[in-house]
Point group: D2
Chain length 347, copies 4
């Protein structure tokens, strides 16, 4: 079978690096372009010593020029760029016939006004929002398979949405009582030369940040509202912890009056019976990030706090994996009709 020629635009950050890793190992993909303004001319192996010696690692970075990318014969491109920047290059690549999987926030929101509210500037390409598909494969695989433009979800949203959506759809919990606390590894903050991201500043430290209105709330609430059939507003508190990778999220909500706690487990099992990458831990299962790092799995456990009537949802994923790169690849497999687990059977 011929491998799908594919590009990564913005390949020098942590998410880009994870995409390079995944694509070099994917049996159905040929990585034909990796872009980086700063690293143009250097090979993947030179910039990321980890990749030296792997077939494909001799590929040289190019600048983010749409024509140059198209000239490689790429049929698809992953965008791992800052929001705002991604929209422009997405349009250019779509015009040149590529399918685009965007890992930025640019196409995740249906409503450009919500984008402006949360990101602080006008949406750069509102005309494309209509066709973009929010790429949560467990929720809308058919739409992803048919899309030209996939907006791959953020790391926090994935860890919050997958446990909650089945419960909201089944009407088991009171949406007004949802509180989500997440703990994220430092790679989630990106590969930036900032003092607060130094080893000595992060090691032996844990703290909340970005409260009360983290940008990811916009996409979280959009998708929860779709699932609930009504507008949902939640409280979300992200925390930074000293690990390289991984997000653990604990979400609590009140069960609706009369709901039997067992219904929670049933809703999750029904929703994810056929989901390759959702691993249900059952009642009492406390998801641990160490079991999911460098995979596309998300582990979900739950508990019932009978004393207060709350359900506890505990999820764990790799923020660069199921929360970014490998989830985007999962959408790619759908887009190109590849085996769902192709290139993702990694542990």
């Amino acid at each position: 079978m011929e491998r799908v020629k594919t590009a990564i635009v913005g390949a020098s950050g942590y998410t880009g690096q994870e995409l390079v890793r995944l694509l070099l190992m994917h049996p159905g993909i040929e990585l034909v372009a990796a872009t980086s303004r700063q690293e143009a001319g250097r090979s993947l192996g030179d910039v990321f010593p980890r990749f030296r010696g792997m077939p494909g690692s001799e590929l040289a970075f190019i600048g983010p020029d749409p024509d140059a990318i198209a000239a490689t014969g790429a049929k698809a491109a992953f965008l791992a760029l800052p929001h705002g920047v991604a929209a422009e290059i997405a349009r250019a690549l779509l015009e040149r016939g590529l399918k685009v999987i965007d890992l930025s926030a640019d196409f995740r929101l249906r409503d450009p006004q919500v984008y402006a509210e949360f990101y602080g500037h006008e949406h750069p390409a509102p005309d494309l929002l209509g066709e973009a598909v929010y790429g949560l494969p467990e929720v809308r695989s058919n739409a992803i398979a048919a899309a030209r433009l996939v907006a791959s979800p953020g790391c926090y949203p994935t860890s919050i949405l997958l446990p909650l959506i089945p419960l909201l759809k089944a009407g088991l919990i009171d949406p007004a009582t949802i509180v989500a606390n997440s703990m994220s590894g430092v790679s989630g903050a990106g590969r930036k030369a900032d003092i607060p991201l130094l080893f000595c500043e992060c090691n032996e430290s844990v703290r909340a940040y970005g409260v009360p209105k983290h940008r990811h709330l916009s996409e979280i609430e959009q998708e929860l509202s779709l699932a609930a059939g009504d507008k949902v507003t939640i409280t979300f508190i992200p925390h930074l912890i000293p690990v390289n990778a991984g997000i653990a999220t604990t979400t609590t909500a009140m069960l609706k009056p009369g709901v039997d706690a067992a219904a929670v487990g049933e809703a999750l099992e029904k929703a994810y019976a056929d989901a390759d990458f959702v691993r249900l831990l059952g009642k009492g299962g406390c998801a641990d990030t160490k079991h999911v790092t460098r995979t596309n799995f998300i582990d979900i456990g739950w508990e019932h706090d009978a004393r207060t009537g709350r359900v506890l949802l505990m999820s764990a994923e790799d923020n660069l994996g199921k929360g970014a790169g490998s989830q985007a690849l999962q959408s790619f497999n759908l887009l190109f009709g590849l085996e769902p687990m192709a290139g993702l059977q990694l542990v």
Copy 2:
């Protein structure tokens, strides 16, 4: 001034070790006994190489014999023992005229039935519960100063109680909506040879545990109920993160209808205006454990989530410091009329 002769019973665990550290540096204390069944006969410096060279580190461990402890002339004893074990030795030392500061859970609960419910066995000394004082110095310094038996609070409770009590007393929040998420360093689990506490099991890992009914809930709810003037039941989710020391807690609750968010800041400021060891970070302050480790400070910030009506309380302390050893020492200073910050001006 003569230094107060003091003993540490159970000095070979992490909390005991922290007490040794603090007492060796305290200008008003002479450490005259440190007990450990396993280490009896060896000096503090031999067992804990960190202490060698410090005046006092040549003291040899003795077994936990009440008569031997009393024979050293000790006027007070810190107990850093497992629950159930502490009660017995506490009684023996009280009978021999020592004041006792117990860091176990044995005397924290007023109701022996709650103890039995949460700890799984009958209370070993119910007759002593009446005189034991729950030793949160910011809440009841006078009672501590007059006590013979202080039950020093646990690490999670301290980080949850200090932010919440002023708000409950002022009637600002709905007690039924309280959810507390804590992230604790590994030392909180003790110095035990358990596989899950190995470096390779904890490093690059984060997970919830002990849900939905952690033992510390019993003392948390007792004290919250006292503050609220009514029975309070909350949801509490502890998480284990890869740091040696430190607890960060994020607590959320709905403001009562009509309450202005500014009242939260005012209640905290009023409560802790004269508290030496509570540092208020104000609105938007995200407490970070790295600023409090090895100190007796607790940092508290808060935020208002106007979209949902919740208040967010973010606290950070050292689980072995303000959450255990140094808080017990703070009570000691009260018990013996020493300067409040004596031996605790450490950063």
Copy 3:
């Protein structure tokens, strides 16, 4: 192509776990047996949550019974057992027609007296030493390919031998001046419930240990002596550092009089021109463990200290990878005529 049925004996430690990971992803291997006395009856996925959801992870552990292992149709077995224990089961499996790749120290030494000197007891199977092949694939691939019993090298030896052997063979350095300092991740100490391996004991700590006569010196010196054509004795100092995986080794030695430093680079390049898994960093290259973890690569850089006449060799590998599991798999590929990089193209 039919996959080779394979067993892992002793699959519940860190090395066993890494072998499970590698074999589940290997396209040419079918894992048919995994043994563990303690975990018998439980599935791979139950014992190691990381593996759940992977094809093959439903396999149940069995006890270490040679007949039961042979009954699975296994053609080969990896042994990840303590030294002393491995020899016995190796013999039993060889008798049942399996090829054996032993990751313990039992068959690494040619001389049973050296074994007794370093391991403190008589060799358990001296008659098998004659046919065992010390499985350093870069040094003796043909012998490995023809072997029935491969003794896969330890983690420290691999990191020391691969840089040094070409220099000794070329006669560039004075063997009497070799000093090797290694820094190893904690997983190298195994998955044992020991106080010194607790998170709080290892984190924020670095120290030497096992001096002056670490057990691995025996195999290091055996192989160096073979390369030098004369008995070689070196100084080796291992250190424990707070990382899960990875070994960095810095080895120094005096260049022989008249040797041009450039000859060092040439000798390395000549030796490893065709080596898939040795990545040469050249002069000035400081190997970093973060680029090799979870791979079978070893990175080797070198430097010349013109002021003293010493050459510095800096190598990095994953102690569970090229230093244990994946290197054993590299030998497996040779034993069964598979593609050299099969199952090892991981980054």
Copy 4:
């Protein structure tokens, strides 16, 4: 007793921060000035949240103006500045009558040509080199006590010099065979916004760097040569490991022919019998950084490798403590006739 008014020039880096910590707790010092170009106007507590609530933490940073510093009445100043910058301000403060303890490299070398060779530019104040005292208190306490200008040693040098100097003075080892391998925490690299110092770049990583001619070699060899009475040149390999603080150094050297290994222990014991801050671990003692962090102690153990004739010296210190801030404070106590352990009895 009146406290000595003291300034810290360059107080916003990691070394400066450690000096602030130590001076705030020192009973004989009043911190009257802390300088930082960037933080001028902000208080110590604002810039370093750890210090809030400590007496003295309300002091505001000022710019590095010599007149302003002198105007505070400061009798002494610690300089925690980059090399090259320190010399200029040192001169200005000396002229204004202050004693100066410089923690940069500017006054450590007696020979300005060696400075130029290792630091790449002309020495900025060669006329001051004559009176500067290399401030290793265990080696020249009298000279320090009488000095006006103390050049406090670097972190690597301290960990290498203290074990070696007694052996060289006693003529026990062959200076030409000395090889020192050090492992340093990340704080040693300073508080700079550099990609290689990010958490995700340092965590789960270990590597050599700065070979073969690290700048600190210049002062190491100067002091070793003084001890040996002859020019000494050594090999030194620093490594970066993922801890915040601490340096472990393992130094090897050949015993001179006929030297009994026991003489090593005797030489160390004789040299440091009265040294408050050197803790000898004896033969077989493997110094561990976790026992010395945040103290002024250096732990030194040794071993004899009888097979090769080498002695192994294993030392551990805090790179910001005995390797920087607290060692400078140790010199301060000498300069002002304070108790040797004043302000340094910290564990």
